[in-house]
Symmetry: D2
Subunit: 336 residues, 4 copies
């Protein structure tokens, strides 16, 4: 959530907009950063959508379920609401399990897919790793913490002439801390140090609580804040940076508004099941404006966006950031 | 929330209990740490409850609204669900305002009421400050951060023989970090170092989002985890520690379950207002078990309790912890 | 000490060079970042050096002694070993005193001189603050900690159109963490975000223990790692960044080698005073190579450079970083 | 260095004492926390001291050299200046090497000796781990950082009834932060939670730079601040706590005064080697008071004690704390 503070800003604008009565309906949608979740809402409606290719695999040894969603053309883009590219999701029950050791086997799977995505860009040798997010907010500290554990090697190359991939890394901070768009900072560093590719690590917002801290998503499309429409100024993508961008993310929060919307849906289902279908219809029939009004009252916009996160998020972030940094280290610094 | 990890444990037990079908109804209630909120739910029903004395004041200069709730006997205890004692709440719009400087005027108000509560215990000279909570979880780090800024003086006394109140301080950590109840640690230190009184600082759970980071609550009753029934083993109170305990808290999270319950209520109101009173009745008529079932489905218990917190909680905690530590410093180390 | 890791690298090269027997004498000199100290060693020899202008002032109210050294031409550069420009030093006994509150009066003095230096560059409105050093090493964390407390405003301007100076800020990290020269990172960000001036905050190495944490140095010459000869690639200066650079620094360490050299000198003095002038001559007569050999044996180069720092450096850094960030905030965000 | 702040206090008293002219000579000695270094200064004089048993071993696979010094009676105590007990030192070149991965093989050796020392106390099942030192000072943060990575299990036992050793843990802080002696805090917690044994982890002061971050010392004698004479109030020992205490330490600093003393000695040797034996005699002949005076002038006592530490101490502490916490985890939680 590199755009944590950006969102706060936007949220303020949003509510101002709402007061003017011209709030577009799509803004009421709760955003998900997970292609998997976007696909699920789509697949509920129709299997075999043109422009989307899906592969699933289960790795017995590691217990990791891998889903690869490839969006191949505009039809896929429109159906899922994400740009063309490859989205790989690793899911494993034990990721979320408490009191577990480091997940070497998940790091190894991750390392495999990082290399696969990188190779789709040729053979990049100089990589800039970017740890997005806010080190001071536990649920948003995944990116910075992964960077803390990365083996940084770029500065060793020139003096020691070692072979291998060169890693540099930066923790740019969030806009409330820097006053700058993350994209400005990264673009400046990319232009100056000329890496062959960028790997961005970020905490994501999921749509459902069940995904939290149990899923790692990789993609070769970079990061586009918000709904990805238009605003390339703040993107971290091939288009905006001039080099390929691989994004690695883990959902660590759910927008509090999502809980409200889900409650309304769950309520309608419950009433239906209880035979009170007339009431269920009334609930479902609530207009978008009414729903949005309710969200506004329950989750006051003067605080900016509110997020839901588990009480023991510190333990999960510590474990996950270690798992991811080991995955990246394995991908780039194979043990001899 | 010193009992952060404890709650996780308890939550696991709770859901096990629920599966056995013997879940008591009161457990479904969403807890509030704020006497003000407890009073509000009560006052909705009846003014002038016996056993409760309420004073309100507005301090023009500081912009702080002060509410003092005194629970004087068992009738008051039963009505509000909190033990006998004094509960003082400071509310100020600007506490929650972003981009504000340090709130000297709020620190001064706070200092006044800390001294007032302390003096109700005679003239304690040696104070142990306890920063409850988890330094690693932003929304739970208020207590530790207040301790980081306290002027600690107890060790200077013996060598320099200065006059004044002696402050010692401890950040005990949470059970997941220590394996010990916070109360065990504090009790051990109290017995060994024999302070005259204990001041406990903690992040609280509020019932409503509107209270977050905008209210400071003081009480002279100490801290009783959970609903305060029975379990004195884990309390930080005069009874359990043998010395008076003043508690200072700020609500920084709302239980995610509260959002679900509130949504149901808001929905019923909306339906009522829309003339669909039959549907509103159906929603309100949902049995507690059904509501609880919905909460369980939406906020999966396998993660333990989930909390709602603002996106910019780091800035609020930073500002509030500084305001509170200055309030304590002013109370104990008057500038000459 | 943004070049902390760079120094480690260089130290390794240095010792390799020494083994080859071709170590130039000047490398044995112990470096000081303080113009004041450089001047002192010069002034011991001759008052009134051409190319140097010195002003001293004592501010009664704040207890701050201010020394302004202006190097006006090459003769001054050569005499002091620093580039042309203005070097302002604030010294105050109470800066180093333990258990003091925040030093508002020092912040105000600092703010005055920051504005004076800035105005020498016209009227810069957009400032990029850079916190050099390593957040993970206490004695090197001054820069990052000052940034933690700065009021960042650049991102507020565009949305709110406020008047005033716009501050952005970055904590670039050290080379061991990023694999990049600090100068590369800063240069990239400057080119992308186009500030009018850069303010760099850094922990410095002093020559003498008595300066530690008791002196703030400002200059309008930026930062040149090492002896400032030649290597413009790693500089943060007008020349390398294209915008004026103000540097603010506080000495927090002394190179351990300096302690060794000083011991030898003190010993010679002691022997002289004791009438053993023959022995004093023998000590003073030690060749540079012998002295360097001794330093190498005592402070093993395999660890890289060693630094001397006070045991309670955390308290000093906390206090000083707050004093400096308040000074910068006052300079740029005058309280209305 | 749990007694970091205590030392500061003591240093102030020391210099006051020195001014009164009654400074005892032994106070001028520079302290070492390492039994190995104490033995070395002794062994220079005589092999085979009664009351001391020494075993050495080299573990081919791990590259670890192990020295076990057992002090069996008062004669040994007097010769080495440490209390009766077992002192085990693990040395390995690669511990200090930069850019190394985690040292699993060193963790395994460490785990073996922790178990050996514990078994000498019967079969303790409940262990309290204590992370001494100051989390805010990098070179003193070893203890707190080891605790950050320990597997804490005591709170799981009661609910899950697992077999095995129960670990609880505490980071007590230093006196400047708490106002309390570390021993008071630990004693209170021990009395309340009744562990069978205590394991204390601490950063140590070495006499020589060459030991820094390259040696792990274990002992079954606990920790006695200062020279271990008399003052049992501040000890963490079987005698003071009522349960056995195992101490694990790594030297991370050298007192700056040691550098001064060593320089004088090195100078005398150099002069001797250069044939200037008359000058060497004059240097060696300096009275203790003169040497102490020199130390006082070079390392000003108004700052309290000064320490020498490597520039990249953060990387060393990070690696070592991980190695030690893994050693403890292996000793107590054998992988099934």
């Amino acid at each position: 959530m590199a755009d944590g503070s950006e969102r706060t800003e936007r949220a303020a604008e949003d509510s101002a907009g709402a007061e003017n009565g011209n709030r577009p309906e799509e803004e009421l949608q709760v955003h998900t950063d997970l292609a998997l979740e976007a696909r699920e809402s789509v697949l509920g409606e129709a299997e075999g959508i043109p422009g989307i290719r899906i592969e699933e695999a289960f790795h017995q040894k590691s217990g990791v379920k891998v889903t690869k969603v490839e969006i191949t053309d505009e039809r896929g883009e429109e159906a899922i609401g994400k740009p063309m590219g490859i989205y790989i999701t690793l899911e494993a029950e034990q990721m979320a399990a408490p009191d577990e050791g480091s997940h070497r086997e998940i790091s190894e799977e991750l390392s495999f897919y990082i290399k696969e995505l990188l190779e789709s860009f040729g053979d990049p040798r100089a990589i800039l790793a970017v740890g997005l997010g806010n080190h001071e907010v536990t649920s948003d500290s995944l990116g910075p913490r992964v960077l803390d554990n990365l083996k940084i090697t770029r500065h060793l190359y020139e003096s020691r002439r070692e072979k291998g991939i060169l890693i540099s890394g930066i923790i740019p901070g969030v806009m409330a801390q820097t006053g700058m768009e993350t994209a400005e900072i990264v673009r400046g560093i990319v232009r100056e140090t000329k890496p062959d590719a960028v790997v961005v690590i970020d905490a994501l917002a999921a749509r459902s609580v069940s995904r939290l801290a149990a899923t790692i998503q990789l993609s070769n499309t970079g990061i586009q804040p918000g709904s990805g429409v238009g605003n390339h100024r703040n993107s971290l993508t091939l288009e905006s940076l001039g080099v390929p961008v691989i994004a690695i993310g883990v959902p660590t929060v759910v927008a509090a508004a999502a809980i409200v919307y889900d409650t309304v849906d769950a309520l309608a289902e419950l009433l239906e099941a209880a035979g009170a279908s007339f009431a269920a219809d009334a609930v479902e029939g609530m207009r978008m404006e009414e729903r949005y009004q309710m969200v506004r009252e329950l989750i006051e916009p003067r605080f900016g966006p509110m997020f839901v996160t588990p009480g023991n998020i510190d333990e999960k972030i510590k474990l996950l950031s270690y798992t991811i940094s080991e995955g990246i280290n394995l991908a780039f610094c194979p043990r001899e």
